[in-house]
């Protein structure tokens, strides 16, 4: 059953690549993510993210190296801890694109953490609204599930490696156009201590899933998380 499923998946993906002229981008995504706690229940999360593209083109055509700085994001999210499981938050993201355009985004989120034995599962629900001078207003609804696993022992302790996996689904509405995006991330992390982590991994995203031409994005994702 499992083999059949994998076979169908591989054939489907191969078919997409063979018959549809989809677009792709491959590059480097770097992220510095910090948070500072105050008043026990409040946290301010600040994220700086850069995207640089090394390969870009249409699937099925030869790949040529072409460096391009794509964009930088600054995201600030203020969260309130409702209890040790649930948090709510609001935030703002400012994006500087390669052509100098600035995009604004407002964010609302709700997150919860489930614990089953030594397994931690984090669920994040988000809505966001994006707009800019040369950008149509876009509304998105997002859901992400993440988990991590210690490579040594049962819990992720100081100076230990771990694996992190996440999967996100994004529905978007722009003018009257509804679309869907799926993201998957597999990272190897190193826990310097509970407040300081470095992760590197592969981040795959499929954008415009409901359009005829889809966009495949592949990133080498390098992230640094620091909590004050």
């Amino acid at each position: 059953m499992r083999v059949k499923f994998i076979l169908i998946l591989v054939i489907s993906l191969t078919s997409i690549n063979t018959f549809a002229q989809n677009e792709y981008k491959l590059g480097l995504l770097t992220q510095i993510n910090t948070d500072i706690s105050f008043e026990k229940k409040w946290k301010l999360n600040a994220k700086l993210e850069n995207r640089q593209i090394f390969y870009e083109g249409v699937t099925g055509t030869p790949m040529n190296f072409k460096y391009e700085y794509e964009r930088s994001d600054i995201e600030l999210v203020l969260t309130k801890k409702l209890n040790s499981i649930h948090t709510v938050g609001i935030g703002y993201l400012g994006r500087l694109k390669e052509n100098g355009d600035v995009i604004h985004r407002f964010i609302q989120q709700y997150a919860l953490v489930q614990k089953a034995g030594n397994l931690r599962l984090a669920h994040r629900f988000r809505t966001d609204q994006t707009f800019g001078k040369n950008e149509d207003f876009r509304f998105r609804l997002r859901y992400r599930i993440s988990t991590d696993k210690a490579l040594e022992g049962q819990t992720i302790d100081e100076k230990e490696f771990y694996l992190k996996f996440s999967n996100e689904y994004l529905g978007s509405l722009k003018k009257n156009d509804v679309n869907l995006e799926v993201r998957g991330l597999a990272s190897l992390g190193y826990n310097i201590n509970d407040s300081n982590k470095i992760e590197a991994g592969l981040d795959y995203r499929m954008e415009d899933m409901l359009s005829e031409v889809k966009t495949h994005l592949g990133w080498l994702n390098i992230s640094w998380y620091y909590s004050f």
Binding site: I32, N33, T34, D35, I36, N45, A46, K47, L48, S72, I74, V77, L82, N83, S84, I85, H86, T87, G94, L96, G100, D101, V102, A111, V113, K115, A116, G117, R120, A122, R124, K133, S146, T147, D148, E152, G153, Q154, T155, I156, D157, E158, K159, E160, K164, S166, G189, N193, D194, S195, N196, K197, E199, S223, Y225, Y226, S227, F228
Partner: protein, 198 residues
Amino acid sequence: MILTSNMKLKSLVTVTLLTIFFQLAAAQTKVEKEYRVKKNAVPENALAFIEECFPGSTIKWYHEENAKGSFIEAKTRQMKARYSIKFDLQGNLQDTEQIVAFESLPTETQNKINSFLKNRFTKHKIVKIQQQWLADKTTIKSLITTGKSSAGYKTNFELEVRGTKDKDIDFFEFLFNEKGKLLKEYEIVQKNINNLIF
């Protein structure tokens, strides 16, 4: 207009970066740690004891450091039961734990624990229960291999509980004796989940 927006964004980046690096000095450390060790790093007496108790079973060895000191721990499964046996660094047996179901506890103990948890929380969920045996090596070996022992031994139950009270949800660890009397409790400090949420 573009230049002004860019400058504002660059200023925000600079301020955020400065804040990050300025506050790096405030880093805090945590002492708890558990990591895998190879068989040859385990004291011989601990190794021999485990091989006697679990012949042919796959054993995973860990080094554990906590506020009480450093320990060597063996984790294994036998007949679907999951055991963890802790030794000091000289190989002296410290305690033996086995993951059990709440229903397997004596009825009177179950009732007392349930009553305690109902008084303590408006809502609760038992996440994990470990049965602890405190005895000498001969008794522990007999308990593991035959399920009984003629010699005296102590049984405690360690419960990890998710408890809700006044809209607050927290995780706790409670240690009860075999009669269901509370011996110890502490709140479990949740690890940072920043990297899972953002």
